[in-house]
């Protein structure tokens, strides 16, 4: 009986793939606007135009011939992030650090020739399935000590889902040793539900079970309060407002010095956030956006 009860609860509260597509994505986002989110270069342009805090762009390259020229400018910085504008799932991102004029990727030294080859590969479309792509060279975000206290490696980020500018659900994605520094749930990262009103961390979901502590460091997660939470929420609302997308996922990071910053926006935010929060999106809509509870936009 209990199982049947729980299955019924799942059916009544969770938004599945079919409903997400038909009632959240399609009626709220126009197909031609997807690229504003999918292409990080375009997304960044919109955010910069609207003075949304995001990592500073040092340079962009879309032609092989311009690599050397742009490199001359950006190589003055001590830390760089090189990423493909149309890459997905964190692929093709190269984080560089300079020590005594020598570049390092993690602890491994890397010479300029290898960096140029990586940039060329991005432009060739290695990370965008043959489509030619553009390279973004950005400022490195130093994760706030709140995160490094829980687990010292990788780049943790927040995902906030908004419907017509109203935040519905939030999740913190933390890397683990299993996820190899990536905060992706598919790759063994942790998804931690967040109470969006208080910024309090709920339990962590590792793809199999809910945990109260980080599996590697053992640090307590549940019950901690995210710093700058109200600023995080405001920033996500401001970001949603400057995109013509009414249902979207906003990805943020908190920099040790600069505070909350937007990394990217996503038109097809994943549904695992519901498991991390132990709450269905339908419930969240009833709670935070009751005026949109009648999810029958589809025509």
């Amino acid at each position: 009986m209990k199982i049947i009860e729980r299955i019924r609860t799942v059916a009544n509260s969770v938004v599945g793939m079919n409903q997400r597509n038909l009632e959240l994505i399609y009626p709220n986002n126009h197909r031609e606007d997807y690229k504003l989110a999918d292409d990080k270069y375009l997304a960044k342009g919109i955010m910069e135009d609207n003075c949304i805090a995001c990592p500073k762009t040092f340079g962009t390259i879309d032609q092989i011939g311009r690599i050397a020229e742009v490199w001359e400018v950006v190589k003055e910085w001590n830390r760089l992030v090189i990423k493909p504008a149309k890459g997905a799932g964190g692929k093709g991102i190269l984080i560089l650090r300079k020590e005594n004029k020598q570049w390092f990727k993690g602890q491994t030294p890397i010479d300029e020739e290898q960096i140029f080859a990586h940039i060329a590969n991005i432009i060739f479309g290695i990370y965008s399935f043959g489509d030619s792509d553009r390279v973004l060279i950005e400022e490195y975000v130093q994760p706030h000590h709140f995160f490094t206290d829980i687990y010292p490696a990788g780049v943790p980020d927040f995902r906030i889902i908004l419907l017509k500018g109203i935040p519905l659900m939030a999740m913190l994605r933390l890397p683990t040793s299993a996820s190899d520094g990536k905060a992706n749930l598919h790759q063994g990262g942790l998804g931690i539900g967040i109470d969006i009103e208080t910024g309090m961390l709920k339990e962590a979901y590792d793809g199999k079970q809910h945990l109260k502590n980080h599996p590697d460091s053992g640090s307590v997660i549940t019950g901690k309060r995210v710093p700058f939470w109200s600023r995080v929420m405001e920033l996500s609302i401001e970001t949603a407002a400057c995109f013509p997308l009414d249902y979207l996922g906003v990805d943020l990071v908190i920099d040790q010095v600069k505070g909350p910053m937007i990394m990217e926006v996503n038109v097809r935010p994943g549904l695992a956030i519901q498991i991390a929060n132990k709450q269905g999106l339908k419930e969240a809509i009833v709670e935070y956006a009751p005026q949109f509870t009648n999810l029958q936009y589809a025509s």
Partner: protein
């Protein structure tokens, strides 16, 4: 709300209109689609040369029974034969003193069903046959069940076996494994055993002789194997009385306790299909035409069978074309209702078509080996930083080389018939490998392998659905059904419920 109703009305009418049309067609036409796809038109054509003497010709006509339906058509002969029932067989006999050349034409229609019999394993040899079956134990001229060589062999084969099923199985096995001879000459049971080589008539007589020698009633039965051709060869098989049935066994063509749909039963007992006076010049042919019965011409928008028959368009091509939408619909049911993901919508359908040609087992092997090769070379290519297009091209070369190797291997193990057209399957499997490579790139080998397994599962399910003859016949006969499929797709496209697998995925949402 309004939008939803509109699309629902459209979808419902798209589903219903073809169904109504199909019902009208079913009513207004006499044929029945669910019956076997073919009936046979059989013609006995006898030519009699000039003769001064009287002559006599006798042959058998089929009787309808629980597995064959026969209807005799007009005989266009000046000389009408006399029909009588003799020993349970229907005999037709012509007598004439006509000195001119003459021809006899007998024509009938046949619809048959395959039959398989279960032999009760409890029946033992020591149960005595009923009185009326005693005559089927006696030796005859060609079935020498009293010959010592037959008796010795039969006892050797039946030793330490008690049930009829085991004994008959052992006899059948022996006769079936005996080399076949391509001859229509009469071979008796003893000769067949001596030569260790026989055609249908020798094998059937030997099997019957074995049975009779140990006390199991048996007889030979004669008829024609129907196929679209003209021929002179008739066929003989054995019938063994087990329980209350005469159970058919064809030890030449490998039918154990079964009779195929295209076997026309003409007579029981060791008879000649045609007996005639020796003094005449005589020639005969059995002309057999396959005709279609799942044909519903009235109110048909497209009569596909007619197009195929008249314009000589290969049925295979139209069949594939019509099965494509059904396959795609099934895949989207798997994707959107069940929640099993696949490589796109059309690929599982195309892969299952590839299995049509290559066969399921060789197909799955070919498919899996190709995928394994792509997975194996992906890693070094990625490490080497090879650009995407070049990487895919290299994978393609590896896939082609592998395909050639696998085909060679399957061919040598005789799993694959060399004449099977493999161009289409290989092209499809190559495309699949590319998709797999792409997925590997996007989400890693683990995710790609997952997708491979779920695609394989879905492919096998739709393969078995699409290869079902009833479904193929139905969609060929009533192609308007694809409009209903479009309607169903509209409903499916508006379906917002959770996918079956999502109940499992999100079950933890409810944990407290």
């Amino acid at each position: 709300m309004k939008g939803i109703t509109t699309s629902r009305i459209i979808a419902t009418s798209m589903i219903m209109i073809p169904l109504v049309l199909i019902i009208v067609r079913l009513w207004s036409n006499q044929h029945h689609v669910f019956e076997p796809g073919h009936q046979y038109d059989v013609n006995y054509q006898f030519e009699i040369g000039k003769s001064d003497d009287e002559y006599q010709i006798k042959t058998y006509l089929p009787l309808s029974n629980e597995r064959q339906r026969v209807s005799l058509k007009n005989q266009n002969n000046s000389n009408r034969g006399t029909i009588m029932i003799r020993n349970g067989n229907k005999v037709i006999e012509w007598k004439s003193s006509n000195s001119n050349e003459d021809s006899i034409d007998v024509n009938f229609e046949f619809i048959g069903e395959a039959r398989q019999y279960e032999i009760d394993p409890a029946i033992r040899l020591d149960e005595l046959p009923r009185e009326e079956l005693k005559s089927f134990l006696r030796p005859t001229e060609y079935i020498q069940s009293d010959d010592s060589i037959i008796i010795t062999k039969a006892q050797q084969l039946a030793s330490d076996k008690a049930t009829i099923k085991e004994i008959v199985g052992s006899f059948y096995e022996y006769v079936f494994n005996m080399p076949s001879a391509q001859t229509s000459a009469l071979t008796d049971a003893v000769t067949a055993l001596h030569l260790n080589r026989a055609s249908c008539n020798g094998k059937s007589r030997l099997l019957v002789a074995f049975c009779r020698s140990v006390g199991i009633p048996a007889r030979v039965a004669g008829g024609l194997i129907l196929e679209e051709t003209s021929k002179k060869t008739s066929h003989l098989w054995a019938e063994i009385s087990i329980g209350d049935h005469w159970v058919p066994f064809d030890a030449l063509n490998g039918h154990f306790a079964e009779i195929p749909a295209n076997y026309l039963e003409l007579y029981k007992g060791d008879q000649f299909l045609i007996t005639r006076s020796k003094n005449i010049a005589f020639d005969y042919t059995y002309v057999i035409d396959k005709t279609r019965i799942n044909h519903f011409p009235n109110f048909a928008l497209f009569d596909i069978w007619e197009i195929i028959d008249e314009a000589a368009i290969p049925a295979e091509m139209i069949k594939i074309l019509l099965l494509l939408p059904l396959g795609a619909f099934l895949v989207s049911v798997f994707n959107n209702i069940i929640g099993i993901k696949t490589y796109g919508l059309f690929l599982p359908v195309l892969i299952s078509f590839a299995f049509f040609n290559a066969g399921v087992i060789p197909g799955v092997i070919l498919f899996s080996v190709m995928i394994a090769v792509v997975a194996a070379i992906n890693y070094p290519l990625e490490k080497g930083g090879i650009q995407y297009n070049s990487k895919i091209a290299i994978m393609l070369i590896a896939v082609v080389v592998t395909a050639l190797a696998v085909i060679n291997l399957l061919h040598k193990t005789q799993w694959l018939n060399a004449s099977i057209p493999l161009f289409f399957p290989i092209i499809i499997l190559t495309i699949v490998s590319e998709r797999f490579a792409r997925k590997t790139e996007e989400e890693g080998v683990g995710q790609a392998l997952n997708l491979y397994l779920s695609t394989l599962l879905v492919t096998l399910v739709i393969y078995y659905i699409l290869s079902a003859e009833t479904i193929q016949n139905f969609i060929m006969t009533f192609p308007e059904i694809i409009c209903s499929l479009a309607g169903l797709n509209i409903l499916l496209g508006k379906w917002i419920g959770l996918r079956v697998t999502e109940y499992y995925r999100f079950y933890k949402v409810t944990s407290k």
